[in-house]
């Protein structure tokens, strides 16, 4: 369970998160939507401790993320994150990209790591690209590799930050397919996305962010069918 309590975060004078309260229970798929600069990415990087927070508290399964005593590296192994840019490690093959963290962070043996990597890569449809370098993959394939890389750590939670928005339109579908599959398998996920139809189909709840505030949250049918907040209405009328 991810518990976010009154989290505040500023970059210099700019307050990006203005007191966010949110709980994501296990097995839930939460979609976050909102305009550019509304703080969606920042929230995700705060959840896995890549960014410090200024006030409030984020707890994952009872561990407080920003407590001094928390071993962030251990925690991050349990919370996978995939970014908009694919972030493949260009000097490693697909297999090596995926096995690196299990081996170095979890201390897994080579054989075991390989096995997991192959399983996850087959899972995302890259079973035949093991020895390829990322430079030879399409954007969609690179993004799926990044997902497999995060999954290979056997995380309990996955965060996705607009994973399709740097992709050519014809490659978006294959990545969304992968996400849908993960959701169906019961992975707890927080997804930032601009793909509204996808959000409607897959998520349990949808949160709308506006200028650092979570303006509205609810089941997709309500948010898309009957938005309450005027900003939500304005946003949805624009993206459609």
């Amino acid at each position: 369970m991810i518990e976010i309590e009154n989290v505040r975060k500023s970059f210099g004078a700019l307050e990006v998160l203005k007191g966010i309260d949110l709980t994501v229970s296990n097995g839930e798929v939460l979609t976050v939507i909102g305009g550019s600069g509304s703080g969606k990415s920042t929230l995700l990087t705060c959840i896995n401790g890549l960014e410090p927070i200024d006030a409030g508290k984020i707890t994952i399964d009872g561990t407080e993320v920003h407590a001094r005593s928390t071993n962030l590296n251990k925690l991050r192994a349990r919370v996978g994150i995939v970014f908009q840019q694919f972030n493949a490690f260009p000097h490693l093959t697909v297999r090596e990209n995926v096995t690196l963290a299990p081996r170095k962070v979890l201390g897994m043996g080579k054989a075991e790591a390989n096995e997991i990597a192959e399983k996850q890569l087959r899972h995302v449809g890259l079973g035949d690209k093991l020895e390829t370098y990322p430079g030879r993959l399409s954007g969609g394939q690179q993004q799926r590799m990044a997902i497999a890389r995060a999954l290979a750590m056997s995380p309990d939670y996955m965060l996705f930050d607009e994973v399709t928005s740097a992709l050519d339109p014809q490659l978006v579908g294959e990545v969304l397919e992968t996400l849908k599959m993960l959701a169906e398998e019961g992975m707890t996920m927080i997804l930032v996305t601009h793909e509204m139809s996808f959000a409607r189909d897959v998520s349990n709840r949808v949160a709308f962010f506006h200028k650092g505030v979570m303006a509205e949250i609810g089941p997709p049918a309500q948010i898309f069918g009957d938005p309450q907040h005027p900003e939500t209405q304005a946003f949805l009328s624009k993206v459609r």
Partner: protein, 217 residues
Amino acid sequence: MFETALTTRDLWFLAQGAGITILVTAISVVIGTILGILFGVIRVQLGPILSAPLTFVLDIFRSVPLLIQLVLTNAFVGIVLQWQISGFTVACAVLSLYTSAYCAEIVRGGIDAVPQTTRRAARSLGMTWAQDMVYIVTPLATRVALPSWIGLALGVMKDSALVYVVQVTELLKSTQILITRLQEPLFLLLICGAFYFIISFPLARLGGYLERRWSND
């Protein structure tokens, strides 16, 4: 010009000078590179403001003629501090710091060339700072930095011609000694130049080749 009093003994003498040139270069490049990596990483980690003092000091090595650095260090160590240190040691020490100043820049450039997002991805998988440095940053930065580093090493070899001021008889000084005795300046200088060229040219070409190859992918 082709009648020369040059004996095989003299050639051996030149070869010894060349040996000193290579030795001084090798020592300085090795130490300078280790220090340069250290300084470069420190500069990246501390950011431009906190590392300003280090930047300033390293900058001096790139802004003052090497000849003056050598004379000054020699005078400081010997005359002011009264340490009994050989010219060879002074030469290696100064050249090492000189190398490290340039190397720190190269290292910094190499690290900066690794996209921040790639490093973030590594950290988000639970890798520590050190693991990120070893498995992600080092291999990627090396590709960017290696060609410039080869250029630097060759530059140091050429600049080592100046250590004659601290009484180290390297290749060019050996040549001058032979010119004193044999009075065949052009011929001897051509031999000397050819030596530098033969070492430098193939390595320079290799650097250029790597640069071209790696900038393509």
